[in-house]
């Protein structure tokens, strides 16, 4: 469970593309704080601190001070550049300690299966949609797969979840499994050995012309 991290945000008066570019050039990320039926507040967040909090500390909730008022916020949306290197914009959502929120959490696999039986590790679910108290969002759902065997996948219903966490995925959905590599070959063969694809608008020769 990630702790509440305090961020030194500054209120932002300028809006729009050009102003946002200037904000980013100054080492800040444009953002917005909204929720709880209060007015939205445009802010700018220090890039280095936010990057460290997200990548290293895996933080989701923050304590920020906007206009002298302390608020607890949750990251609602984070926009990245096209290469996924830099953060572009962040949405903060006001939350209370008593509130329950819907978020996604990653599934972390621990260990390697003892006996694969020729199977290949496949993880259809990398993230889970959950509902939990706003200030106790689990960092990840950790799953020990050392006893995973071929033909016995781990389903959502078999996960051990922290207290107060409700999962929205179907209970019979497979989280991780060992699958024989040969089983996926037919789906990968898209073409049936044809040199040219079938043309749907191809002109068919008329019967009279053929003779």
């Amino acid at each position: 469970m990630a702790d509440l991290i305090s961020l030194a945000v500054q209120p932002r008066t300028t809006t729009g593309t050009r102003a946002a570019k200037k904000t980013r050039a100054a080492g800040m990320i444009p953002g917005i704080v909204y929720g709880h039926k209060q007015d939205p507040v445009a802010v700018s967040v220090p890039m280095k601190e936010l990057d460290h909090a997200i990548r290293v500390q895996h933080a989701r909730t923050f304590e920020i001070a906007v206009g002298g008022k302390k608020e607890t916020v949750l990251i609602r949306e984070l926009q990245w550049d096209h290469l996924g290197k830099e953060m572009y914009h962040i949405d903060f959502w006001r939350v209370d300690a008593s509130e329950r929120v819907k978020v996604t959490v990653p599934v972390e696999l621990r260990g390697m299966p003892k006996a694969t039986g020729g199977g290949v590790l496949e993880q259809p679910l990398h993230t889970l949609h959950i509902e939990c108290p706003a200030l106790s969002i689990p960092e990840a759902i950790r799953l020990d797969i050392t006893n995973l065997t071929l033909g016995a996948p781990i389903h959502v219903r078999e996960l051990t979840l922290p207290e107060g966490v409700k999962v929205f995925e179907a209970p019979e959905a497979v989280v991780v499994q060992l699958k024989l590599p040969g089983a996926e070959e037919p789906t990968e063969t898209t073409d049936a050995g044809a040199a040219e694809p079938e043309v749907l608008t191809a002109k068919k020769p008329k019967e009279g012309e053929e003779e």
Binding site: R55, L83, T104, E122
Partner: protein, 153 residues
């Protein structure tokens, strides 16, 4: 496995749709303008190969990459191909006078924009995935980089 191509198409030949600058022409038969707004993060596997440039990725290049990845991950992990050659590229034969209409389809290509994740690998350690994707990057007509999953927020 033979080269990938669509099963059925509405038209055999389609418009080129490339930005033909001089620098782009010198590079690889045109360069694709713009950045990838989707398909630009690792979605299925654990690690991926992201392109830093735009262009056409031929079915031959995709197949070469597939063979390389298969050799590395077979029996251990899974690989995912995030691009498909939907576009037919035509050409006029050598020593042919100009005119007489558009040439015949020569190969199929995927239109790739800067930032797209071309291939993904899952179920293998990072060092093995890095090694496999470095070999694949060598066969790609673009500059590529190794990427991992984005932090979940």
């Amino acid at each position: 496995m033979s080269l990938k191509m669509p099963k059925r198409v509405k038209y055999r030949k389609i418009q080129r749709g490339v930005i033909r600058g001089l620098a782009a022409k010198k590079k690889y038969n045109g360069a694709i303008k713009g950045n990838a707004q989707r398909g630009n993060y690792v979605a299925y596997g654990d690690f991926g190969l992201q392109t830093l440039e735009g262009g056409w990725l031929s079915a031959q290049a995709i197949e070469a990459a597939r063979v390389t990845i298969t050799r590395f991950v077979s029996g251990e992990g899974r690989y995912y191909m995030r691009v498909f050659p939907h576009k037919s590229v035509t050409s006029i034969p050598a020593e042919t006078r100009m005119g007489k209409g558009k040439g015949e389809p020569e190969y199929w290509a995927a239109v790739v924009k800067a930032g797209m994740v071309l291939f993904e690998i899952g179920g293998v350690p990072e060092t093995a995935a890095k090694e496999a994707l470095a070999k694949v990057a060598y066969k790609m007509p673009f500059k590529c980089r190794f990427v991992t999953r984005r932090p979940n927020v």
